[in-house]
């Protein structure tokens, strides 16, 4: 059985690589705001992707025990549920961008 340290090293992602992707995605996001394309359908998935990268690789969820992902995922499920339902309930005034 490998030592904990060896296990940790085996599962070490390319942190700098992830960083580069995150930086590029951020630039893309900013770029999108200068283009005449709908923002929400593009930016939200991009943001979620960035968040997922941080969670999976920097927070090591991809390689860690599943229970950690579950704890995180339950929170997201509830939080997202709150966000979506309240957005629907308060619907009409949401998108009058001033």
């Amino acid at each position: 059985m490998a030592t904990p340290q060896e296990l940790e090293k085996r599962h070490r992602p390319n942190y700098v690589g992830v960083f580069v992707v995150l930086a590029v995605l951020t630039l893309v996001e900013i770029g999108v705001t200068y283009l005449p394309i709908p923002r929400i359908p593009v930016l939200v998935p991009l943001a979620l992707l960035k968040a997922a990268l941080v969670a999976m690789f920097y927070m090591h969820l991809r390689f860690d025990r599943r229970v950690f992902t579950s704890l995180f995922a339950f929170g997201i499920l509830i939080g997202l549920g709150l966000l979506i339902s309240l957005t629907i309930l308060f619907g009409p005034t949401l998108l009058d961008i001033k």
Partner: protein, 609 residues
Amino acid sequence: MASQSQVLTLQHENKRFFGAWIFSTNHKVIGINYLVTAFFFFAVGGIEALLIRVQLGAPNNTVLTPEQYNQVFTMHGTTMIFLFAMPVLVGFANYLVPLMIGAQDMAFPRLNALSYWLFLFGGLVLYSSFVLGGAPDAGWFAYAPLTTVQYSASHGMDFWVLGIILTGVGSTVGAINFVVTILNLRAPGMSMFRMPVFVWMMLVTVFIMLFALPAVTVDAILLFIERNFGALFFQASAGGDPLLWQNLFWFFGHPEVYILILPAFGIISEVIPVFSRKPIFGYAALVYSGIAIGFLGFTVWAHHMFAVGLNPVADAVFGLDSMIIAVPTSIKIFNWIATLWDGKINLKSPVLYAIGFIAMFVIGGLSGVSLAIVPVDWQMEDTYYVVAHLHYVLFGGTVFAVFAGVYYWFPKITGRLLSDRLGKWQFWIMLVSFNLTFFPMHLLGLMGMPRRVYTYDAGTGWTLFNQIETVGAFLIAVAMLLFAYNLIKSLRGGEKAGNDPWEGQTLEWTTSSPPPANNFAKIPTIHGRRPAWDMKQKPALQTASEQPEPSSSVEASGNDLAKERSFYPTLLALGLMVASYGLIYTVWLSILGLAIAFIGIIGWVNEPV
């Protein structure tokens, strides 16, 4: 058994017993602290209830002014929910969960102590409002904009916010402790599906706490900022919306009621099999229905808002969901009845309360489901019908379950039995007086009596029922006094209980009464759902070779069991309390409080483990 000498050893090791007790990090001591403090607040909340009933005992009564009445009913609700029901259930959990899973303590004993102190200090901050300008007076649910400075000028609502946040942090921290303890510290052989149902219910409950409390914390923060920094979240004229308050509040508030009932379900699920002398019927169904309730509980919150003008689709969705949630609850009721069925019932006080629970809770559940029908709710909203419903589930439910638990586990905690004869008297008086007090409220609600009104006119025709209810309330008080008498009498000279007076099925019954400081000298290995039963029937299974030494592995997973007391959790909680006062009075207090808290944290981190 060595228990007496071990308790004495604990006392000798810690020269000043009071200091040992008050700063103890042992889960049993903390559990008792929770239970005692919660019952103290139960008495306070009960007196508030009696004040309400006295005021309403006659039309146009002048015992309380309207302003006083508002404070009393607000504090009654807030106290009963946050300072009695939640803590008493957590108190049971604190005492029992480590014992039931074969652990020596919670995963984080000092964090456990912190939870208790935050509860106590949060309660004290809330109650200090009475002498600092007036208690909160806008209902336990604190609807904005009634709670904004324009309509609630005293600091009462600010104290409400601080009380909620302090106790909420305590609950959150406690919830984390329970999650880790239950998932990580189970004895060898205790898989998830061999855990007692009470432990499962606590696991679901603490998950609900973790994901519901943040919503009310944010809501309370928004209210505080509105009151003290002039924000406009709830001002319609500025584009704000009172419904923001309501949505965030009930997003917490509804899961909160499942926090209040699931542990009670757990207690009932422990008591009924033991006194039926059978295994619980439908263990898996009880577990899965508990999980289902926990999840579904997050999807029904707007049924508290049917009357605010939501669109019909929202009404329909929430109404439907509120009916669906009755299903897993009913499954539990059937499981309990099936357990009792054909059992060799040992009709002692605990199971009497459990049966009372089932009957009363079903009534409460039925009124609840009727309220899920949107047009019915439109008629019943803010009437005494809702007051009836909530008391049938919270008193007829939770409180009855609490007494079942008290009668059941008192012998384990103290080593003495409560008088069963007095217990039965208390039960019957309580059952009759409870129904006398709250059943007429259904009818009053149907007759149109609104809730939260400080008086009513003689011509309404509501007088008789109100009088009956007031008499009933005082009879409840009689039952409670009887309980207090039983408690004191039994503590002084009650019958010695021995390890296992009820022929229990779960691990706590394999220890002495009270258990030794570290619960189990050797962590047992578990082979089934009823380890105490197994150990009695098949003692050969427990061989020394099956018992791995506990301490090294427990330390390796980062627990701090070595010290049984610490002053730093108290200091940290004290600092947070002082900082809270600073938020109302002066920022210098907050800075002082944070400094105290900081010292507490540094001491904690550097304490030798």
